[in-house]
Symmetry: C2
Subunit: 516 residues, 2 copies
Amino acid sequence: MSKLVKNAVGRLVPTEINGESVVPFMGVNKYQPEGRRHAPKITSNANFPSDGNKQVASLKDALIKAGLKDGMTISTHHHFRNGDLLANMIFDIAKELNVKNLRWFPSASFPCHEHLIQYLEDGTISHIEGSMNGALGRFTSQGKMSKTAVLRSHGGRYQAVQDGDVKIDIAIIGAACADPFGNANGLYGQSASGLLGFALADSEYADKVIVVTDNMKPFPCIPWQIQGNYVDYTVEIEKVGDPKKIISGTTKVTKSPDRLLLAEMTAKFCEATGIIKEGFSFQTGAGGTSLSVSNYFAEIMREKGIKARFARGGSNKYLVEMLNEGLIEYILDGQTFDLDGVKSMAENPNHVWTSPFTSYNFHAKGNFAQLVDVVILGATEVDVNFNGNVVTHSDGYMLHGIGGWQNCLFSKTVILPIPLFRDRIPVILDEVTTICGPGELIDVIVTERGIAINPLRTDLIEAAKNSGLPLRTIQELKEEADKICGKPQKPKLSDEIIAAIKWVDGTVIDTVKKVM
Amino acid sequence: MSKLVKNAVGRLVPTEINGESVVPFMGVNKYQPEGRRHAPKITSNANFPSDGNKQVASLKDALIKAGLKDGMTISTHHHFRNGDLLANMIFDIAKELNVKNLRWFPSASFPCHEHLIQYLEDGTISHIEGSMNGALGRFTSQGKMSKTAVLRSHGGRYQAVQDGDVKIDIAIIGAACADPFGNANGLYGQSASGLLGFALADSEYADKVIVVTDNMKPFPCIPWQIQGNYVDYTVEIEKVGDPKKIISGTTKVTKSPDRLLLAEMTAKFCEATGIIKEGFSFQTGAGGTSLSVSNYFAEIMREKGIKARFARGGSNKYLVEMLNEGLIEYILDGQTFDLDGVKSMAENPNHVWTSPFTSYNFHAKGNFAQLVDVVILGATEVDVNFNGNVVTHSDGYMLHGIGGWQNCLFSKTVILPIPLFRDRIPVILDEVTTICGPGELIDVIVTERGIAINPLRTDLIEAAKNSGLPLRTIQELKEEADKICGKPQKPKLSDEIIAAIKWVDGTVIDTVKKVM
């Protein structure tokens, strides 16, 4: 590991990861990228089937034709979530072919990928760059992965591919529906997941692209969320995912009184400060609390006769109902969290699929995230400087990915409704275990015992002052939690860096240490 | 001008045009491109307005902010066809700012751009790379443009931009509808033209991108046929185009008995040879004869209970009727030729907008054009080797662009219904004035006095043999025309090359000479 330097949020970060130079975080909007985007090789139709039929007999065939070999970077996407069957198949084949030292570059990994630990152990996979939810995160936290993990936001992943920070050798794109030419979508079939935006960068920039489906249709597969003109090979297999686990069907509004209170206070704050107004926009995410926020928003909007210009998904039943009721003009959706979302996206032209490029890429000429008036996010920890953590727990284990969280911080107002403590462990700390987002971008912390507004947001402090809402300083909230729970213990961590956390611009904002 | 070499169709072509090296045509599917696609500079959201509002006060402001200066390449698109007002405005501003020596890179130019001849004369514009319909073509043919014109197909233009053969400094994209972030479409508003596919490459690869509309909507403009994430500046002006000339409304089926005969023979040929079958696909284009072919196809399909999987547009009323009647499952559309087409595209999800990337780009991993079973095209001339010309007349004047013609030659069967002579000038010659497409890709010539099948298509000759259709050799047809019209005169041309004709892979297939 290279020398460590202190970055703009005061964290010691390396200047080299896995042998490649990296730039320490320089502050929000400070890093100026140079150079040019990654330029894929020029291909020629002359080297592809004249009838456009790129279908090969099996996934193994496709991987062999794509030139699978030691040391390659293999990418997958997470639209099948915990129902994904494809990633395990790919590395089973790699093992069978005795290919070693692969970098796996998923847009996220899930508990269903625990199967791959054996390949991290035997050297088939050298390391993972991508969010690790559950067992793989625990494995990595224990220092068992031979190289350093790199975690990026959804937008950061697009940026890394676009800018050539990560060069993908083979992208494997699982699709609910495809044609032999390679056009694909996530809308129709037993493995419908809604859209395929997380694989967009992979399709555009990877050297070789394989589309795998269990629902091959004659050309044209419409809509082509993935464009076949980028695709080298197509494969039909029996099953790309487990439908029950792709769409959980359990995305329900919380019944917990504590969480309902947080949701209600959040909505009231938005009402009191004038954020909920004609033509506003919001993103609430998919957790139980967030879903409840949408519902409270809907009540306020109905009462006042207010319409939102758009809401950002992750979509679900509740957001779709608001769209159908006319409370929202458009849903701009990055992923569908239930079948109501999938159906609405397939049928309603005002339920629009977006991608990490349109929504989240920071190395563009703007993105949609910054146009959202208010975003409601979660966090595992925040600190008294409003810095937020979403990847590690207070015991140091890295069990979650960043998702779109960092990207959404560019919204005009960022609100985190969080409990003051979880299992008697305070959520507001002097210092978060891992900084995923700098405090200057986090505006409001809503807890069951009060609301803290970032001192930078004097406008919000002014707007909320006569609202009757329980306004507190974040320091006060922290002290109250400490009084109840006792001063929290620091996690026991070694000096060994097991993961780097990238900021949206590709710089390193923090690292994650091995748990002792 | 550099030395001339004989290319694979026997034409003498230069190895250098306007000071840049070019590759002579090597034969269909022979040229293997090397290197990588053009890589735009990495940009950062940090340098764009945090609220996503990129609107500036005027087109002049936008051009100045974009850094307009001598020698730049300025691109526009032709979706407004002969109703375009924008290109003239742009160069009026360039003139006002005393900027010189600009390369104009339109996707096509029309008679409405005759206004720009003054700027070609005074050095504001050095030359045009793009199709020139009408006055500009005549001006160029007379050797009055100071540099050499370069003509490309729609797909070839995408290829040139993608591969960096042409680097666009400033792209100006006129849109019927846009938002201040730069998302844009051609579907809604007084200047609705249907889609904006011809500006896609420009948006993706140009250094600076300006979207100009007369119909600015609040974010989000949906659908975003052009993605605002690529856009630097947006401008609202009073009028981007003349609606009456954007959509002519005069696209009608021919009433000429000669043309109706050609259309009927073409359809009968497709019926007899089994091309019209369940699930087939076709593209007929927009001329009066082509429209009639669609109608004859419809009759045959109704009679036999056949459905087409898809038809490629240029769409129009007749194709839309076939879609609505269920004779076609999908229209894959590159441009809408009338208001029925625009409306259908806006409302019917099975009327899908395509782009030169999906449909025509040859430096990809395949494209849609090659998936089409039969395409009906026109030509100004063909020769006894089935080579086709679409850009010059037999008097040598270059008065037309290539459009998608070259790209469509990759369809499984290419049929040219053409009269044996026009104004007593034979259309079938020993040698075409300009080779735009090599004979090996042109399968059938349908004339009022007989049908000639390319000897390479032994399958079609076999299939047509007992059809009762008047099959002839192309030599026989030519001789018959010569007997009636007399041996045609060769055009009087100087040695001066005024334009180069690029093939779909960027190589030079022919040149156009100055008319004496």
